[in-house]
């Protein structure tokens, strides 16, 4: 079962694209894009214990980094997504250089300030970002030699985002299962001890922050591609807080857990908000209940407190 399960999951994701009705499929696309965000965020919060409130910066930057090159310079989709990814890397480096030096509460505050600054800038610089109204873009076709993939085809976006989700998961999975990932977990467990075992903790925290920020930007880019649109709202604090909810609900310190959090939250938002405007109240209660039962979220409940240290699925 252990070997078969990931395989089954991939197959069902592939098949789902074909059989889901239109509405559910676009919800699925959104959930897949957010899953990359959630996993990336957990590298920061769940693996190195850096509770960032600044990830909206990378999400927004990824979205605009992807949309603007297509809009102004007629770049292809893939190069544009890559530019968004790089923009996330640069911004994570600049903000990380300052913030990883700070301990807990100060880190939270400073990253939140970055989020606020970028949100204000994005709202203000309407010539670049389109402000609250945002910018729409027409997606060019993606060419693989003679093959052309149009993201306007109902299945195009689904498999496009799915491919990135799988690649992103594999990349993060590799990092998390490597010595680097082990050191991240050690830092989460006891930062001071890790330093006294010979590791430069600050550098490792910066690396984790960089990985987290760049993959968040990738998620922002994919989300923008799926909407064919980016707005200054992507920089708002909402996008810094929502990943914390995903990770807490799904299971900190894992990669699959945050994806479960995304699925739960998105489905809830989609179906419950339809009949009650104040659905977030119910969701808040639900979060409290989940965390009351299992401190480590839904996945944590199923893994249990087994003897597997640092578990990172």
């Amino acid at each position: 079962m252990k070997r078969g399960f990931p395989f089954l999951l991939v197959i069902s994701l592939l098949v789902l694209g074909l059989i889901l009705p239109r509405g559910a499929r676009s919800l699925m696309v959104q959930m897949m894009a957010f899953s990359i965000f959630a996993m990336a965020y957990d590298i920061s919060l769940g693996f190195t214990n850096q509770c960032s409130l600044g990830h909206s910066v990378f999400f927004g930057a990824g979205a605009y980094g992807t949309i603007l090159p297509m809009l102004h310079w007629h770049f292809g989709v893939l190069p544009s997504v890559f530019i968004g990814f790089l923009l996330g890397l640069v911004l994570a480096f600049l903000t990380g250089l300052i913030s990883v030096r700070l301990s807990e509460a100060y880190f939270v505050i400073v990253t939140a300030i970055f989020s606020a600054i970028f949100h204000l800038l994005a709202m203000d610089m309407t010539w670049l970002t389109g402000g609250d109204d945002g910018l729409s873009v027409t997606l060019p076709k993606i060419g693989f030699g003679p093959l052309k993939l149009s993201l306007y085809h109902p299945l195009g976006t689904y498999y496009f985002v799915l491919a990135f989700l799988l690649a992103g998961y594999l990349a993060l999975r590799t990092i998390v299962g490597s010595p680097l990932g082990m050191i991240f977990v050690a830092i989460r467990e006891n930062e001071k001890r890790t330093a006294f075992l010979g590791y430069n903790v600050r550098t490792y925290k910066l690396i984790a922050f960089l990985i987290s920020g760049t993959f968040t930007a990738l998620s922002g880019g994919l989300y923008a591609v799926s909407l064919r649109y980016a707005t200054a709202d992507f920089f708002s604090l909402y996008w810094s807080i929502i990943p914390i909810v995903w990770c807490l609900v799904g299971g900190l310190g894992t990669l699959i857990g945050p994806c479960i959090g995304v699925a739960l939250m998105s489905l809830f938002q989609y179906y419950v908000s339809a009949w009650w405007t104040y659905y977030l109240v119910i969701f808040g209660v639900l979060i409290l209940l989940i965390l009351r039962v299992s401190r480590r979220g839904i996945l944590g409940y199923f893994i249990g407190r087994g003897a597997r240290g640092g578990w990172r699925l």
Binding site: T174, I175, G177, S178, P179, L180, G181, M182, I183, V185, A186, E189, N190, K192, R193, T194, A195, F196, L197, G198, Y199, N200, V201, R305, A307, R308, G309, G310
Partner: protein, 245 residues
């Protein structure tokens, strides 16, 4: 070569002088004991040597290299490792993983690609250390689930896993049962055959029994230094410990 020299080291916290021109010289493969009443400055001395604090004055040399003011990770990389008085472990890592992290600090520090399981060099060494400290049967237990005594032993194992030439132990037997204390002392004596060990202990008996040489701190000053026999006869030491003004 593994010698430690502390030269005229002073540490002030505001108006409080925690250490006052302390000198200490530890030879290779020595088992040195440091004793003194509460507040004598024993742990502060360790904190200065291992880079947690910078001294207000004075210098510290490891194998004749000036390490004064270096950050902890660089001092550890130079072969000086420590344990903490209040156990400092990785609560949700297993015994094996905790040791693994220490060993890896001198091996695959930046590797983001290879699976942890596939690094056989670290795995072999980790098994060895688990055996050495006698925790091989509990290697897959989470550190947080160990008894306090075993946590103390794990701490020594973690410090040892960085392959130090000098090991600083801060009250390794504090708060454990007499039987566990005996085991810990046994481990320390085995270690001292190969590396230099500096031991802070509250229990004077233990220090006098196992150490080659003993340094006595009192109110931030070294008041006596010598072999156990000399120390137990020293009048000033007796006065400090019996509390006569």
């Amino acid at each position: 070569m593994a010698t430690l020299k502390v030269r005229e080291v002073t540490k002030r916290f505001g108006g409080l002088v925690a250490l006052d021109r302390v000198n200490l010289s530890v030879e290779e493969r020595e088992l040195r004991g440091i004793i003194g009443p509460n507040g004598a400055g024993k742990t502060t001395l360790f904190n200065l040597i291992t880079g947690e604090f910078k001294p207000t004055g004075g210098k510290i040399f490891l194998d004749d290299e000036d390490i004064t003011g270096l950050p902890p990770h660089l001092i550890c990389q130079r072969g000086l490792s420590r344990t903490f008085q209040l156990t400092s472990i990785f609560p949700e890592l297993t015994v094996y993983e905790s040791i693994w992290v220490g060993i890896n600090s001198k091996r695959h520090r930046w590797n983001p690609f290879t699976k942890v399981k596939n690094l056989t060099d670290v795995a072999e060494r980790a098994e060895k250390i688990c055996h050495l400290i006698g925790l091989q049967e509990k290697r897959d237990e989470l550190a947080v689930n160990l008894s306090y005594g075993d946590q103390k032993i794990l701490e020594i194992g973690m410090a040892l896993s960085t392959e130090p030439s000098i090991l600083l132990l801060d009250e390794p037997t504090q708060g454990v049962s007499p039987k566990e204390a005996e085991e810990i002392i046994g481990v320390i004596q085995r270690l001292a055959k190969d590396i230099t060990v500096i031991l802070i202990e509250h229990s004077v008996d233990v220090v006098l029994q196992v150490c080659h040489k003993v340094t006595v701190l009192h109110e931030g000053r070294v008041i006596a230094e010598g072999d156990p026999a000399e120390i137990s006869k020293n009048e000033e030491v007796q006065r400090v410990y019996l509390g006569e003004a």
